[in-house]
Subunit: 337 residues, 2 copies
Amino acid sequence: MSVSGKAAGIKDVALAAGVSVATVSRVLGNGPVSEALRKRVEEAVRATGYRPNLSARRLRSQHSQTIGLVVSDIRNPFFTAVSRAVEDAAYRAGMRVILCNSDENPEREELYLRLMQEERITGLIFAPTRATLDRPDGLDLDFPVVLIDRNAPTGRHDAVVLDNPRAAAMLVEHLHAQGYRRIAGLFGNTSTTGQERHEGYRAAMAAHGLPPAARFLAPYADAAEEAVVDWMAEQDRPEAFIVSNSLFLMGVVKAARRLKLPIPDGLAVAGFDNEPWTELVGPGLTVIEQPVQDIGRSAMALLFERLEAPDRPSRRLVLGGTCIVRGSTAARMAAAG
Amino acid sequence: MSVSGKAAGIKDVALAAGVSVATVSRVLGNGPVSEALRKRVEEAVRATGYRPNLSARRLRSQHSQTIGLVVSDIRNPFFTAVSRAVEDAAYRAGMRVILCNSDENPEREELYLRLMQEERITGLIFAPTRATLDRPDGLDLDFPVVLIDRNAPTGRHDAVVLDNPRAAAMLVEHLHAQGYRRIAGLFGNTSTTGQERHEGYRAAMAAHGLPPAARFLAPYADAAEEAVVDWMAEQDRPEAFIVSNSLFLMGVVKAARRLKLPIPDGLAVAGFDNEPWTELVGPGLTVIEQPVQDIGRSAMALLFERLEAPDRPSRRLVLGGTCIVRGSTAARMAAAG
DNA sequence: AGCCGAACTGTAATCGTTTTCACTGAATGC
DNA sequence: GCATTCAGTGAAAACGATTACAGTTCGGCT
């Protein structure tokens, strides 16, 4: 650490090493420099406590070495897990990550997209809100975009998503095999993910000749709780719920508790995202586990490929989920409907 | 959005508006410009789709308008909640946030601190690992630092922390009042937080003439699970556990389940962080709720005050926690020890 | 010996902004 | 009516790095 007042610049290093700034820059950037000078410069760097100024570097070299990551809910462990994977991959590639959280708020999201442009990011990994997805120019950006979790209907962008219909169908299959018939569904109304899961649910129910019964909710646990409480008061009350995210899972568990319905005998439930606590509540909750690690890594991989070949046609990577069976969907007891 | 190939710069805007670049810069930065020109420039900005280049702006103006946030575990909902609060406050002040996750890994942490310097951040909000805290020059950085969650023993830095000893003591008091006597403690060994909570635990136990029984663990749920399983096999097995974080809470619940001990009759438990799921497992888990929102906001406030008065003596803000009582610490049944 | 190319090195231009400084009119004060 | 301010404007100098270009040195080849 230098004792002088201001932070050392490349000029100070050059002076200390008795070379030109160009030479210093070259040893920093692995340019061709003789071993002797390289030694001297490295020594000077250490002595001055020099730290490159990334703003200057980025301005001059015209690439930011930065990738953006805009997620829709940072509290959702799915996204924190993905962002860790993305960050690891980025770091290994010598890139920085700017992580932003839109909170499902289109205005916030737009603000962050603008920020990304102003940062001149190299590429974006993006879980867009529905509003942005629906706007025809919502994804026309100055940099390559890889969508995660949510899918653009146009298919013009690279994307890596879960096989949502299949995953929802797996849950239906499982519940059906366990003896459940009146299976209801709760799906998020803010993302394509909810729609796709609903689609898989609907198809699987139809395949078994069962009537689907689905509702679409805002992404809050309370919404699910209320919906379940209401629903269970109706005639023909469901035996089981399939829900499309972990907030709803909480809501259903709360509702069951409020209604004093034991899980699974009073009410079975299955959902998405294998969060640590799903193992701990009640008899354990049956969930679809998403390959979060893979999703993050693959998104980065797609992004890098896109950067190398900007004109290659877009690709969608569809990953399978794993059904983690727990007590919340134990075989249905023979009982009166 | 311009149709031209390259992104528009301030020069293009100036050209389009028929003014000098200086004028454009001034309307962008609220400098003194006549109403007429301001109109023309704003129109030109819209027409060209101009977006400022933040690297250039930062380089020239010599302040980054960026604050750093280095947390030790992004999966910990405590930190995600804090970071949301920080980001909100920063955004309202027109600043950007760089969020980094050290994962309790000192090397990663150092790397990120270096990055912060290279980004020339305005200030840092920091939950340091113990290694960094113990190194005498670990917190000698080029910018103001506000510590959160963890506390430097030297007290040379601004900090906002929970009243950890008091919070742990609250749990002891509560358990004692509920009739528990053999109260064991599990504390994290990576942070000062664990130490402080242990200290409060120890003192409160002593105040009641109870013998303390504490162990320090690595921050994994499994570590806690094993510790509990082992411990419960010993003679003089604890009636209740106090744990210093939510990972340990999971571990204790898992252990209870493995040992077929009902909560709280077989084993009572209380911990920290009021995460949504703590309400749902077993009879509900008694926890200390931290004022996460407040912590984030206050950290930003301290940072801003420090920026305005760099030489003011350092200050520590100690916030109180709230004890959320749930079934996991229900009154002890009269039973054989 | 003389020439050529390879391997380094330094000078200076450049990246896209902000900001200093000088300058222009027009308005004000006497 | 003339000096004096003043608000608005533009030309050009930074900011701190990278990099194109032009030397310089040196070794090998003929």
